[in-house]
């Protein structure tokens, strides 16, 4: 007689089970729900609308909506500029600190300072600092006699974009610098010395030895960073709320306004899905790069 063998699930699965379970309950299920509701005209004020299937109408609506595309494009632009600058600045800071001989620990500690700030705190902090009336920047400019006018840091379209980018970069450059610094410390010294002997200029050693070695660390930083690019929502929401007059509107602020202020949950969820896809694509891309880079310098086991 044959019985189907009832095997105990493997240990790794048992160990991962709680994680799967809690994530399924708190993230996956709501996501399924929001996927469904993105195909309905659901409004918080009219609960019955949840049961009305309207197909892809919401998606069609946002994909033909100029305001959405403006916010989407602005978000991509924002992320591109911000991530690149953070990487470059982080690399520069890491290189500078790695060459310090005394007080390095202190500098590294200070470097981690912005990492522990709540994004909303960063938002308020820079809202305060860039305030056109009583902010530190304008006060300083005026007191030092550069100008008498109050620069509209958070009102002018270009200046406001600059301000929120500044806040975002201030908040997130640290993670790059800290991780790249760890990479620099982990780097073996003999290849660098060999390169020197082989006649490399400092720039050449950096380009051909240091940078390839740092690549996996760069992608670790980019991956970790891409996990919460949406943190920018907190900062922008507080500093400008997407305004004035949508001049700093990002996908996230638009979505939040559509959902909570206008109570149009269906369409907000459709936007949510676009933003989720955006985040996931970013993360996946960097993860792949990370694996490749690790394999390239033999870090994988």
């Amino acid at each position: 007689m044959m019985f189907p063998t009832l095997r105990r699930p493997p240990e790794w699965l048992l160990l991962l089970m709680p994680a799967f379970f809690v994530i399924a309950a708190v993230i996956l299920m709501p996501l399924v729900f929001s996927l469904y509701s993105s195909f309905t005209p659901y409004r918080l004020t009219k609960p019955d609308t949840l049961w009305k299937w309207i197909g892809t109408a919401n998606y069609q609506k946002i994909l033909t909506d100029g305001k959405f595309w403006a916010a989407f494009g602005r978000t991509i632009l924002f992320l591109t500029i911000v991530l690149n600058l953070e990487l470059l600045l982080g690399l520069a800071i890491a290189l500078m600190i790695s060459r310090v001989t005394r007080g390095q620990r202190t500098l590294r500690t200070i470097l981690m300072f912005p990492m522990m700030f709540s994004p909303i705190l960063v938002g308020f902090q820079f809202k305060f600092i860039f305030n056109d009336n009583i902010g530190l920047v304008n006060n300083a400019l005026q007191s030092l006699g550069f100008t008498n006018a109050a620069a509209p840091w958070l009102v002018d379209a270009k200046l406001a974009m600059f301000s929120i980018m500044f806040a975002e970069i201030w908040m997130s450059t640290s993670i790059f610098a800290v991780l790249l610094l760890a990479g620099l410390f982990a780097m073996p010294q003999d290849p660098l010395e060999a390169a020197k002997v082989d006649g490399c200029t400092p720039w050449q050693s950096f380009r051909h030895i240091t940078l390839p070695f740092l690549t996996p660390f760069i992608f670790i930083a980019l991956t970790i960073r891409s996990l919460d690019v949406a943190r920018a929502y907190d900062v922008v929401q507080i500093m400008t709320g997407g305004g004035p007059a949508r001049r700093t509107e990002l996908v996230w602020t638009l979505m939040s306004r559509t959902g909570y202020v206008d109570a149009r949950m269906g369409i907000a969820n459709a936007m949510g899905y676009v933003s989720i896809l955006l985040s996931i694509l970013f993360t996946l891309y960097f993860f792949r790069k990370l694996s490749a880079a690790r394999a390239a310098i033999g870090m994988s086991d």
Partner: protein
């Protein structure tokens, strides 16, 4: 050596020395500016929490230093002026962050251990898949959670927020603990098993104590994430019963005015615990981040 050649040599040396000096100055200046940019905003907040409101709002700006505890007094005075129940918020934040951290660490450690110690098919896919859930933007998640939590009746409760933070922290805890457990040689566990431990004992008596520092830093990371989170908390909490400090910060803003001094004082209250905790574990935090995550 002729005199001309000697002169040439000293000239070359001099330019070399000059260039080195210039580089050092540049290096120093770069570091100085960087550190200023990093420190000044925080310092500005701290300073302003001790400045009287009149002075903060003074126009033209008043740079003379003065000192007052009015904002702190108002803040800790509870429902006094402004009526922001800071103590309640602080307690809510603490309860929610601590419990979600403990639970997330237990769940995440178990998952991280699975990734560090077991071989199974499609391991990387599982790993990346879990991380992608961390990538879901809080705002996007808050929309359906808001509706579901309202239905289930756990909106505006500690429990609801704890649940959310556990789910949010588990993936990253897995990443970190995976890295820490990977750094512990497998033989350690095997030696313990040969020494007579059960698998359970081998973990708690040998592997866990060895990874303790790492687990602690993963815990602090989880704690900070919960402590600082705003996007979800701002939608899932409403009353003083469950509002956390980041949401409480909004209480200082009215329609058109902001109580800057009070806000700065609350900001200081928020940042101090985070500051202390981070400095305690900075070293391990970095090693965990760089070690874990998709390998092999």
């Amino acid at each position: 050596m002729t005199a001309a050649r000697a002169r040439e040599k000293t000239r070359a040396e001099r330019t070399h020395r000059r260039r080195r000096l210039a580089l050092r100055l540049l290096h120093f200046a770069g570091l100085f500016v960087t550190m200023c940019v990093i420190c000044l905003p925080g310092l500005w907040i701290v300073l302003n929490s001790f400045r009287p409101s009149v002075e903060i709002l003074a126009k033209p700006p008043d740079w003379t230093p003065s000192f007052t505890l009015e904002h702190y007094r108002a803040m800790f005075g509870g429902a006094g002026e402004g009526g922001v129940p800071v103590f309640r918020y602080f307690r809510n934040s603490l309860v929610i962050s601590l419990s979600s951290t403990v639970i997330a660490i237990l769940i995440g450690m178990s998952g991280g251990y699975a990734f560090a110690r077991y071989r199974f098919r499609a391991k990387n896919a599982y790993f990346v898949g879990l991380m992608l859930f961390r990538a879901v933007p809080g705002v996007a998640l808050s929309l359906p959670l808001f509706i579901i939590f309202a239905r289930v009746g756990i909106i505006d409760t500690h429990f609801g927020l704890i649940l959310v933070y556990v789910a949010m922290n588990v993936p990253f805890t897995i990443w970190l603990t995976d890295g820490f457990f990977r750094q512990i040689p497998r033989e350690l566990r095997e030696a313990a098993e040969i020494d007579g431990c059960t698998k359970w004992q081998a973990f708690w008596r040998v592997e866990f104590p060895t990874a303790r520092a790492g687990v602690a830093s993963a815990a602090i990371f989880a704690f900070l994430t919960s402590w600082n989170e705003f996007a979800l908390a701002s939608q899932l909490t409403r009353s003083a019963e469950s509002k956390t400090l980041p949401v409480g910060l909004l209480d200082f803003t009215a329609e058109f005015t902001i109580n800057w001094g009070g806000m700065c004082a609350l900001a200081v209250l928020m940042i101090v615990p985070a500051l202390v905790l981070t400095f305690l574990v900075q070293k391990h935090l970095i090693s965990g981040l760089t070690f874990g995550g998709v390998k092999g």
